[in-house]
């Protein structure tokens, strides 16, 4: 089992970046969700203002998912560093799970968007795009790139 070292390096790099971003976004979201849960004002205002541009919601379970995805990438990194080729499987699964969640949240977004268009009801049209736009979605773009780039490698992981 030998791998093109250049391609392996790409995946190591990808794991570092993706792992870091997911864990970071997950941690911020975790703090924000704790803030919302216990009504800690300073935390809440932080989420609304300073970090507003990251579109991070205060969703507790979602934050754990982001951290988990990051951990999968980091775990793969460990295996890749130790010279195990199987590390690629972690990159693959990490990408798949992040894509699953990106799809889930995109569907939720699309559903709400459709509702607000269709019903045109002031009570519901309080919804706006950024309400449902979140890290799990835009970080998914990164994963999608990885997936497209290495689709072949993943299918023939064993070879």
């Amino acid at each position: 089992m030998k791998h093109d070292p250049g391609k392996l390096r790409e995946k190591v790099l990808f794991s570092v970046v993706a792992g870091f971003l997911y864990v970071l976004a997950g941690s911020i979201q975790f703090v924000l969700s704790i803030g919302a849960m216990f009504d800690i004002n300073s935390v809440n205002s932080l989420g609304n203002s300073a970090l507003g541009f990251l579109f991070i919601p205060s969703d507790f379970m979602g934050s754990l998912v982001l951290v988990l995805i990051g951990s999968i990438f980091f775990y793969g990194l460990m295996e890749l560093r130790n010279g195990f080729n199987e590390g690629i499987a972690y990159v693959y699964v990490g990408i798949i799970i992040s894509l699953i969640f990106a799809t889930v949240y995109m569907l939720v977004l699309a559903g709400n968007w459709m509702e607000s268009c269709l019903l045109n009801d002031p009570e519901i049209t309080g919804w706006s795009f950024i309400d449902d736009f979140r890290p799990a979605i835009y970080l998914g773009i990164l994963s999608l790139c990885g997936y497209i780039l290495w689709k072949k490698d993943f299918r023939n992981m064993n070879k």
Binding site: V65, L68, I72, V93, I97, L107, N112, M114, E115, M157
Partner: protein, 669 residues
């Protein structure tokens, strides 16, 4: 005689083979049926027939549960074995997984001895080729002396070849088939037993002698029972008791595999084991640290889709029914008819209909889960926990299926070999929250816990699992006491779920829900409306109506849980089907001409609070699932006692926990 009068010839074909080799997929494409397919062993638990007109023949195809051997261990395997052995179909087609020929041939060696006309369908050869295997079909035909047809059932490839072969095989006079030799010692025993058996002419006319002898030496209790009435029964018994049957069994299994490994390399080149992508993925999915978090995350994804994604669709369906209600109130005369249509039908059925999006998504996701191969992994991951509560990993599969509907979940327990394990699993499946209960949670959690509805519903689901787990432990230490049975499970490779299969599964189950809404729920709603409108003269839905009287009669029982007469009566009707709880709320709180949504009228009722809502959800989760589930419990346990226990136990647990929630909650508020 002219050609047009020619009688259509009938051929009866049995599809048999190891579990999860694609028998049902093949059955579906040939007969155009829509039987349940999934990537885990033990999907099919009953035999199913379908018909195909082909080249002037009427071919009856029978799909059987999978089995590894003719010695049956579980109920589904018994069904498969009995059909092949007793009903003697015209042609037996064994579906063989082309990526796993060696083990699949074990069953072939046993089937060959039966002397039936046999064909091998070498299925999934797309996967074998992708893996780089080289299959030698003609060599295989020669070695096994039976036709071998390559098929890819999931892509409808090789079906007409298979049917053609079935027809030519049927035409052949001689039953062919090669038998394997078991070595001197066993062969001499076989001859000895054959001699004795040949004295009973009735027996020999029904079964091949050698096969009977082999099965007897193989310790097959089913065959022992079959010859029990024979004149030679005692003689056979004496021979068998003089032998160490367990040793013989082992020697014969050994011999079969020995023969297979001798010929196998001639049939398939490079068919050795190799790491595949599936194995690599599995390393991550069952990783020591990540395995369980990944499992939970996937469950969470499913949960998010079933609720958050479905919400907008729900609102739209709801809007449509509110609009229909307005129309009926405005245009339908006389007034009582408008009330029947508005309050009874639209209020009742409409409130159930709005949950169709959730139900569809739920079934779609369950099907994806089944088809990906992850379901068996989930059983592997949680076996340790299941063992602690006295069950085994296989019990987890029916429990997960129970989130869709309890009825098929209870049937799925048939693949659990151990009777005690199976009984305990049947008893706890009803606590798993099925799709029909979901409308209740969405209505009440959505109304009373708007912001935290998701969390509340998640907790209710969790409670169902905890009660199931606790009850299993309780049963396994009392009424069903015993050691947990061993866990022996094949783990299928991962596959990318087939979108068509999932959509079809979603559609079939979803339309069943719609049908139910259009029949049982509609009927129930009309009955409730009548009870709420009669006797004439009193105010609709007031305490003087029949339903009010009924509600008051049972209310003392439910009072301690915080339920008023309306809730009590709804729960009573919920015995039929859980959706009726919601439907009757719709009828009783009249959404028809008020033009306000059910949620608003619920909020306006002073009897209802967050606590009653919680208590109601807990009660609905745990008490008897529905008439259909009780029926299937009776059928599967075969005992009225256990059925009664299941209902009574469910009611007791529901009452106690709802009580605890209601009064415990009061202390905090």
């Amino acid at each position: 005689m002219c050609a047009g009068e020619m009688k259509i010839e009938k051929i009866r074909v049995a599809l048999t083979g190891n579990p999860n080799v694609g028998k049902t997929t093949l059955f579906n494409v040939i007969t155009g049926s829509r039987q349940h397919v999934g990537n885990w062993p033990g999907v099919t638990v009953e035999k199913k027939s379908g018909f195909k007109q082909y080249k002037g023949y009427e071919i009856e195809v029978v799909d059987l549960p999978g089995t590894y051997s003719l010695t049956a261990y579980s109920l589904d395997e018994i069904v498969a074995r009995d059909f092949i052995v007793d009903e003697r179909p015209d042609v037996v087609v064994q579906i063989v997984d082309a990526t796993n020929i060696e083990r699949n041939l074990y069953l072939t060696t046993q089937l060959m001895e039966l002397g039936s006309k046999m064909i091998i369908a070498l299925n999934m050869y797309d996967l074998a080729e992708e893996r780089g295997d080289k299959l030698h079909v003609t060599k295989m035909e020669k070695i096994l002396s039976m036709p071998v047809v390559l098929t890819i059932a999931s892509k409808n490839i090789g079906m007409s070849e298979l049917l053609d072969t079935v027809i030519t095989e049927k035409q052949k006079v001689k039953h062919h088939g090669r038998e394997i030799g078991y070595g001197d010692e066993i062969e001499s025993r076989i001859i000895e037993i054959e001699k004795v058996l040949s004295q009973d002419k009735d027996l020999t006319s029904r079964y091949p002698l050698r096969w009977l002898a082999v099965r007897l030496l193989d310790g097959d209790e089913n065959i022992l029972r079959k010859i029990a009435g024979s004149s030679v029964a005692t003689q056979i018994k004496t021979i068998l008791t003089s032998l160490d049957i367990e040793e013989y069994e082992a020697m014969m299994a050994d011999k079969r595999y020995e023969v297979i490994s001798a010929v196998f390399p001639q049939m398939c080149e490079r068919c050795m084991t190799r790491m595949t992508t599936s194995d690599m993925v599995d390393r991550v999915m069952t990783n020591k640290y990540l395995g369980i978090p990944i499992f939970l995350a996937l469950m969470w994804a499913a949960f998010e889709l079933t609720f958050s994604f479905a919400t907008p669709f729900m609102t739209i369906v709801e809007r449509i029914f509110v609009w229909l209600g307005e129309i009926s109130a405005a245009y339908i005369r006389p007034e009582w008819l408008a009330s029947l249509v508005g309050e009874g039908i639209i209020g009742g059925v409409g409130s159930v209909f709005s949950f169709i999006p959730n139900i569809f998504i739920l079934f779609f996701l369950l099907s994806m889960l089944e088809d990906s191969g992850y379901l068996a992994r989930a059983a592997f991951i949680v076996d340790r926990v299941m063992y602690k509560i006295g069950l085994q990993g296989k019990s987890f599969i029916p429990m997960l299926l129970g989130f869709g509907c309890n009825v098929p979940a209870i049937m799925a327990t048939r693949s659990i070999e151990d009777r005690m394990d199976r009984m305990a699993t049947i008893m706890v499946v009803p606590f798993i929250s099925c799709g029909a209960r979901l409308p209740i949670y969405i209505l009440f959690a959505g109304t009373f816990f708007s912001e935290n509805a998701g969390t509340v519903i998640f907790c209710i689901y969790l409670l169902g699992i905890l009660v199931a787990v606790g009850s299993a432990k309780l049963l396994r230490t009392t009424a069903l006491k015993g050691h947990p049975a061993p866990f022996i499970l094949e783990l299928p490779p991962y596959r990318i779920p087939n979108l068509n299969t999932s959509i079809r599964h979603m559609w079939d189950n979803g339309s069943m829900y719609i049908q139910k809404a259009g029949t049982i729920i509609l009927g129930g709603s009309v009955v409730i409306w009548l009870l709420a409108a009669l006797p004439w003269g009193v105010e609709y839905g007031s305490e003087q109506t029949f339903i009010g009287l009924l509600g008051h009669a049972i209310q003392p029982l439910m009072e301690p849980l915080g339920f008023d007469w309306k809730l009590s009566v709804s729960l009573l009707f919920g015995f039929v089907a859980k959706e009726i709880v919601v439907a009757s709320m719709g009828v009783l709180y009249g959404v028809g001409d008020d033009q306000i949504a059910l949620t608003d009228s619920l909020l306006a009722d002073p009897h209802l609070s967050q606590l009653t809502a919680l208590s109601l959800m807990v009660f609905s989760l745990l008490y008897m699932p529905c008439i259909a589930a009780v029926g299937i419990i009776k059928k599967e346990t075969g005992s009225w006692k256990w059925t009664a226990f299941s209902v009574a136990y469910g009611l007791a647990v529901a009452w106690l926990l709802a009580f605890a929630v209601f009064h415990g909650g009061k202390m905090f508020i």
